[in-house]
Amino acid sequence: MAYKGYAGKVLKVDLSTKTYEDFPWTDEDRERTLGGKIMAADIFYRHIRPGMKAYDEDNWLVATTGPISGCGCPSASRFNISTISPLTGIITSSNCGGNFGLSLKKAGYDALIITGKSDKPVHVQINDDKVEFKDASELWGLHMTPVQEKLPPKAGKMVIGPAGENKVLYACVFSGERAAGRGGVGAVFGDKNLKAVTADGSKPVEVHNKEKLRETNRKWVKQLRSHPLTGSQLPRLGTAGLVAPMQARRILATKNFAQGRFDDFEKISGEELTKNHLVKNSGCTTCVIQCTRRVKVDDKVVKGPELETLGLLGPNLLNSDMESIIRWNYELDELGMDTISVAGVLAFAMELNEKGIWKNPLEFGKIDNISEIFDDIAHRRGIGDILADGTKRMSQRFGGEDFAIQAKGMELSAYEPRGAVGQGLGYATSNRGGCHLNAGYLVVLEGLGLNIDPYTAFGKAAINIFFQNFMEAISAAGSCLFTSYTIIPSPALKNPSGLFAKVVNVGFVALGPVIGLMNRFPAIASLNLPIILYPYAIKHATGMKMNIGKMMKVGEYGYNLERYSNIILGQEAGADILPSRLTDEEQIPGNKKTKVPLDKMLKSYYRIRGWENGVPKKSKLKKLGLI
């Protein structure tokens, strides 16, 4: 292996035969994919077949790390798990800030592939070159905290809770307190009878140029600490600090996305959380941003709710009780379920009940029965068995497709896209479904950081693609996506009503066609800028030549790869849609701008991407070397 920064090997484990082997991975593969989710997508692509399903024995779980993880880079300890999602039927890549990835690297592996199914509950233990398949019968049934307490304390861990064991379609995997939350990765673990994976080792990660990397890391830490978002807002308010600007911009999903504002928003705001509930902040391993809130539940200090959880278990259910959301967040973490999907499911069920379509005990604003419902979902009891299958399947059973707030089967996160139409485009085109991050997270520019025109379709396709591709590469490197906030100029954030901000806001949209060109021809951006430190970190960690254009190219490859893999798995053309509540109903009655002009934006999007109705054209696939 010519490159440093990587551990150098990929481990493949077969739960059916209880055997393991090395999986080949070359320097050419590293150059093409970097690592992380793109590496996982590439591994998957060589393996999938048409019609493959989430619970097939040969559906793989692929956990991958990035080349700058374990190299001292700030906020760069994230790892990824990819698999065929039982919720959507297509590839899901779920990112996690827990310490499993770092531990896997120390054990000597950049990635772990799990195939097969165990005949009984199993815990896979990786310790340097030794892999053991331990009986996990005594761990089965345990919640997230107690199961991790029973595992080797110094090891990095991936575990599931009761929700994963019972194959709730949006069950997640936990590593420490962090979740690989979306897409039902936990259910695939459960289907394989895989309760836990631990990794530990003693192998150091070598880097290419220690001195230059140290200097880059020093600058990076300084940059993150001095930026208004990563150095002030996120550490002091957490992601919860977005509630107030979302309210102001009508982006706060309320009553199952019927509205974009909630009268009692202050009661569930970041300011309320900080002033009256925060014990201290914390963060993922190696993170200097420290956006996590720590709060009290029953005298225990636990991880507090993020913005998505606050928004979707708050205004989206017409709930203004912060204490309940804090408790529910903890309960859902312990049971091992995606808070975003659970909340979306509850909101949909509430509206079905309100409309008399499906009689059930859930009502907007009623909170006394929610904890019980969570437990029922995790154990697939009573109506929990219906709710456990997600919003799309519920709408296929009961009706209400127009207000089943999901994309490709996965529930949307808390940003109401009729207040930020670019985000709506992102939701529709996101490869894994209703994800704000895989969408390109354009809402940060449309009112939560910058304030570009949130209602115009102009330029949004190009900007979306740029961020979708670039964020793929950032994630592939192993970095937290919040580090990308530093691309937003500080003066525009510190002086949002000043002239500079206004020029940036207008200019960003006006530059849409130029950004579109960069997307189609990433070589235009074959340069480095001192404010974008990823290429420097990758170069000094690995020895790989890197610049912004190359990162965009890797990201473009990854995004198309996942999309094409989804097509092979059975995703049809025309799958990039949103429920008609968001595309046909005006958020503000009488204001035509307040619905997502999806068809209009998709035309530009597909043209720039080189796709036809959501399917990469042959010319595109050939250009990327996929056929």
Binding site: E215, P228, G241, A244, E271, S497
Partner: protein
């Protein structure tokens, strides 16, 4: 003068000595003066450092008049800490600039 209800959000909302309450002011500029008075010794805010909403509508000008019963939301990333004066910088030599470039 109008009696309005002012609410402050963002990092400013948790660092300001005044975060919400009834205030008498004739326009937004007045409100900002009021807040700076409340936060003496801390970093001053100005209209350009904020996003202001009156009754849910975005406000473009600090001279926008207020009326009785208005609710004003003020969002700002200003963290309220007084900033140290920048040290005077010596001009870097050409060699020092070149060395800086080499490290990245």
């Amino acid at each position: 003068m109008a009696k309005i209800f002012l609410k402050c959000f963002g990092v400013f909302g948790i660092s300001s000595n005044f975060d919400k309450g009834l205030v008498e002011a004739k326009n937004i500029a007045d409100l900002i003066d009021f807040l700076n008075e409340c936060n003496r010794g801390k970093e001053k805010i100005s209209f350009v450092k904020t996003m202001v909403y009156i009754n849910g509508d975005h406000c473009n000008s600090k001279n926008t008049s207020l009326k009785d019963g208005d609710e004003v939301w003020l969002l700002s990333t200003t963290d309220g800490e007084p900033k140290p004066k920048p040290k005077s910088k010596k001009k870097k030599t050409a060699k020092a600039k070149k060395d800086d470039k080499k490290t990245v």
